[in-house]
């Protein structure tokens, strides 16, 4: 089943590097997933987080406030 990945962040440098990490992992491992960047603060706050960037996989917040490594993202997606 296709996964829905959301990256929450208002556009700071860290949010961009998280997006790149996630995109790379999805591409390298041919993971069936859609990546959605959520930049609207009102949308972001619905996820009840206090630090950006945050990684949301199928509506579950998995990482917040830091940039994960590729291995970490891969594990979370499997």
């Amino acid at each position: 089943m296709s996964k829905v990945i959301k990256i929450l962040g208002t556009g700071c440098p860290k949010c961009k590097s998280m997006t790149n990490v996630v995109k790379d992992v999805v591409k390298e491992h041919n993971i069936d997933a859609t990546i959605d960047k959520v930049e609207d603060i009102m949308e972001i706050m619905k996820f009840n987080i206090m630090t950006t960037p945050a990684l949301v996989i199928d509506d579950v917040v998995t990482i917040k406030g830091r940039v994960p490594s590729k291995d970490e993202v891969l594990k979370l997606l499997n």
């Binding site: 208002t10 556009g11 700071c12 009102m42 987080i49 206090m50 630090t51 917040v61 406030g65 830091r66």
Partner: protein, 324 residues
């Protein structure tokens, strides 16, 4: 502590590049190489230490602490300290603000956090130690925390809740269920790579500002005449502090870029208090910050917030000039 670096800079500029120690260029380059290396080492060490601290005191836990403990007025002080130890990214200020308010923390206490967070952070501390030494750094940190405490307490005296944006008020009314914070159980060694990477990321992200700041500083060292600023800014007249602060409020520069520049101000005769007030107004208040806050509060509230903080910074500038 940094003697070996000075030796390295001397050797590199005077021997390897064979630029004379008596030339303007030689002096400026030596200053630049020495300062840049020193600052980068300090920056990495301090960012790394703060990374360890933050791994053990995540923001959610701090919020819970502020919320659950009865602190009898000390909550402003604690909130301000938490603002100092957590890393600051301007893009996180809005989510943090909402998270705090939503978690039931009074607006004034939230402001304490919001005021201190950009003022006192690992980058500012590293730059300050490198440029002004430990004593001035301690004064800067203490006054940043005090400023947040007093500013937040003052703002807490007004009835500001009605001035929040409508959607924030809605969130408050709905009292959305708070996600419980689950702690990650990891050993220190498991966290270490993550902390090291985080520290590198922060150093990398400010590297350019550090180099530009030091380059401007080095150039000013060489070419701005002695006592040039004191002729305009440093005579100690009462109006110099408010002017320095008012000029700095709309501007934004991060601590990494501004400290080397104000170091030159001080070297050329501006009183340290005036320089620190200038710096606080630059990093703490700015138009970009106001634009971000516009999403969660009305213009009136932003104006009150900026007004109170500006006043506090001006007062602290006077206090410094008397004390230092």
């Amino acid at each position: 502590m940094f003697n070996w670096l000075q030796h390295f800079a001397d050797w590199f500029i005077y021997s390897v590049l064979s630029i004379g120690a008596e030339t303007h260029l030689g002096v400026a380059l030596n200053f630049f190489v020495y300062d840049t290396l020193k600052i980068l080492i300090l920056l990495f060490v301090i960012v790394f230490i703060m990374g360890i601290v933050n791994a053990y005191f995540p923001i959610e836990r701090l919020k819970d602490y502020l919320n659950k403990k009865k602190l009898y007025g000390l909550e402003y002080f604690f909130s301000s300290i938490f603002g100092a130890i957590t890393p600051f990214c301007s893009c996180s200020s809005v989510p943090l603000f909402i998270g705090f308010v939503q978690g039931g923390i009074p607006l004034g206490v939230t402001f304490s956090f919001l005021i201190t967070s950009p003022l006192v952070n690992e980058v500012a501390v590293a730059m300050f130690i490198g440029m002004f030494g430990v004593k001035a750094t301690l004064i800067y940190v203490a006054s940043g925390i005090l400023l947040g405490t007093i500013g937040g307490w003052l703002l807490g005296k007004f009835n500001l809740e009605p001035l929040l944006s409508d959607w924030v008020k809605q969130i408050l009314e709905n009292k959305m269920q708070q996600a419980q914070f689950e702690e990650e159980h990891k050993t220190f060694y498991q966290r270490l790579p993550e902390i090291t990477n985080g520290a590198w990321d922060i150093v990398k992200s400010v590297l350019l500002y550090v180099i530009i700041g030091i380059a401007i500083g080095a150039a000013m060292h060489g070419y701005v005449p002695e006592n040039f600023f004191s002729a305009y800014l440093g005579g100690g007249e009462w109006w110099t502090v408010p002017i320095a602060v008012l000029v700095a409020v709309p501007m934004y520069a991060n601590a990494a870029g501004i400290v080397p520049v104000i170091q030159v101000f001080v070297a050329k005769g501006v009183p340290l208090g005036t320089a620190i007030a200038f710096m606080m107004a630059t990093v703490g208040l700015s138009i970009p910050e106001a634009t971000l806050l516009k999403k969660v509060m009305s213009l009136k509230l932003i104006a009150i917030f900026f007004g109170v903080i500006t006043l506090c910074i001006i007062l602290s500038g006077y206090v410094f000039n008397i004390l230092l």
